[in-house]
């Protein structure tokens, strides 16, 4: 089962939350290292962060005794609190990706990454922290790995850290790793958005699509958290679609197949179902109808496609950002629909490109 990997930014190395579980029979919450009987330096502070009387977690979860396993020690400071908060929020919703210590950096079974640094007080306000630039520098290997694996990475930072000098660094990082997105936040809420009705949520807004970049590798898109007015909510909600697929049309020299992932309850980060692959019929209208929420569509290019072949997806004549997985035998393009607020009956245009020249085209309608 895939989920979100949460990394706590530190000045040494990004520290991954390996596991977060309830320990009902103990007296204190404990932060441990690498799933071993070894305490992290922040263990006592973590207990206070969770505790009902001094912390912020137990009042939401009604659980006071947790075990948090980290991939590395965190020696000091409170900037781990935002990552820990997000980890609890995701774990409570069943969306936190757990892993063995040996696989902390392998990002297996991960569909997105959250990288966070910030101090959180008992009322949920997020306070500025120091050394953000150094923490970013120490995380370059993680960003590169995520980039190679086409994983969206969301950097969660305190609003109080929004400064021009940091923005320059972030812009440079995003240019280098287009899968990065940045969210500045001033307040966190524990609400689980997956429990909300699958309609537009007042707190849910999504970043405007980024202008198309040069080549598909420049068209990554992440933005996996929904943020509005400085309020953090994780995991988006989706409008449902229904029906079936009806394809007809001619064949092409280059075959493209598509398969889609959908979820009946709008939860695109868990319990989603993947369809069987279907061929895209060029110069035709491909209708796609589902009973559940459409989360993502994968487009697989024919492995015999000549070099320079690529895909382009447009909505309302505007190119959409695609993730490209080149680790496969043939290129796979991912269209993450949960990142987009698309109305029902949206019409997509699928263009098969050869060295930036359109060779084939098809329409895809989602009902």
């Amino acid at each position: 089962m895939t989920g979100t990997a949460v990394f706590i930014a530190t000045t040494q190395t990004p520290v991954r939350i390996l596991r977060l579980v309830v320990e009902p029979r103990v007296s204190l919450s404990t932060a441990c290292l690498n799933l071993r009987a070894s305490k992290a330096s922040i263990s006592d502070a973590y207990n206070d962060f969770v505790s009902l009387d001094t912390g912020i977690i137990a009042r939401h979860t009604q659980q006071e005794n947790y075990r948090l396993d980290l991939s590395d020690d965190i020696a000091q400071g409170n900037s781990w609190q935002l990552g820990a908060f997000i980890g609890h929020q995701l774990s409570h919703a069943g969306k936190l990706a757990h892993c063995d210590p040996s696989a902390a950096t392998e990002l297996a079974d991960v569909d997105r990454i959250i990288w966070a640094s910030g101090e959180v007080d008992v009322s949920g306000r997020v306070h500025a922290v120091s050394d953000i630039e150094r923490k970013l520098a120490q995380s370059r290997a993680l960003f590169a790995d995520a980039h190679r694996q086409c994983l969206p990475v969301c950097l969660m930072l305190p609003e109080g850290n929004r400064e021009p000098s940091l923005q320059v660094t972030l812009d440079a990082l995003q240019a280098e790793y287009p899968s990065l997105s940045v969210q500045f936040i001033s307040q966190v809420r524990f609400d689980d958005p997956s429990a909300l009705p699958p309609t537009a949520d007042p707190y849910l807004t999504l970043p405007a699509p980024r202008p198309p970049a040069q080549g598909f590798m420049g068209k990554y898109r992440s933005a996996i958290a929904a943020v509005s007015a400085g309020t953090l909510l994780l995991v988006g909600a989706l409008a449902g679609v229904k029906g079936f697929v009806a394809n007809s049309g001619a064949s092409s020299a280059v075959e493209v197949s598509m398969r889609w992932e959908y979820a009946k309850d709008g939860r695109c980060f868990s319990e989603r179902t993947r369809s069987e692959p279907r061929a895209v019929r060029w110069e035709r209208l491909n209708k796609l109808s589902l009973e559940g929420a459409l989360c993502r569509i994968e487009f697989d290019l024919d492995k015999a496609a000549p070099p320079g072949t690529s895909l382009e997806i447009l909505a309302d004549q505007r190119p959409l950002d695609l993730s490209l997985d080149r680790s496969r035998v043939a290129p796979r393009y991912l269209l993450n629909l949960y990142l987009l607020q698309l109305p029902k009956n949206s019409l997509f245009t699928i263009n098969l490109m050869q060295n930036d020249k359109k060779m084939e085209s098809a329409q895809l309608q989602v009902e």
Binding site: R19, V21, V22, E23, P24, R25, V26, S27, L28, T30, C32, L35, R36, A37, S38, K39, D44, N47, R67
Partner: protein, 184 residues
């Protein structure tokens, strides 16, 4: 030049024999001295943070004489050295639990808990009563499993909670109903 025994005069023979006897006595005396001296055990028990002492730890685990001497040191060390009754308290789902006697100056309660999740480590939890000082050391002993001495973590909110791997020697000692737990 080599000289043989038969060539020695009587005085020289006596001198050599006396040297041999003295050497043998020294060797015999040295072999009777225990590996860990009382002074070492006292220093170990009274140091709040003795650090790694593998020789003492090994002797406590395996040598009944050292175990007995160490218990004597603990009993003599100070008035706050406490014997905790092993069967005085039972806690549901806890493999072992105990608390100080009613007439003890400190109110400490300990229990061992198994983690609910792999790799199923153990938690040693010591709760410190109001108006009591937190212990800094624990010695657990059993006739069959030997003894082990632990430096305890600092108490947080009146609780000392330590994680122990499932093959930690304390676990097997705690499984003995006749164990003796001393904390000070």
């Amino acid at each position: 030049m080599n000289r043989q025994w038969k060539d020695l005069d009587s005085a020289t023979r006596n001198h050599i024999q006396q040297a041999f006897i003295t050497g043998s006595l020294v060797q015999e005396w040295a072999e009777q001295v225990p590996e860990i001296s009382l002074r070492q055990l006292f220093a170990y028990a009274s140091d709040p943070n003795p650090g790694e002492q593998p020789a003492i730890a090994r002797a406590l685990r395996r040598d009944p004489t050292t175990q007995t001497r160490y218990q004597q040191v603990l009993d003599a060390l100070c008035a706050n050295t406490l014997v905790v009754a092993s069967a005085a308290a039972s806690v549901p789902d806890a493999p072992a639990a105990g608390l100080t006697a009613n007439d003890s100056p400190q109110r400490w309660r300990y229990r061992l808990q198994v983690s609910s999740h792999p790799p199923h480590d153990y938690y040693l939890i010591i709760e410190v009563g109001a108006n009591s000082e937190a212990p800094t050391r624990l010695c657990a002993s059993s006739n069959t499993e030997g003894a082990i001495d632990l430096v305890l973590d600092t108490a947080h909110r009146g609780v000392i909670q330590m994680l122990l791997e499932k093959d930690h020697p304390l676990i097997s000692i705690m499984a003995d109903p006749d164990r003796i737990i001393r904390m000070w």
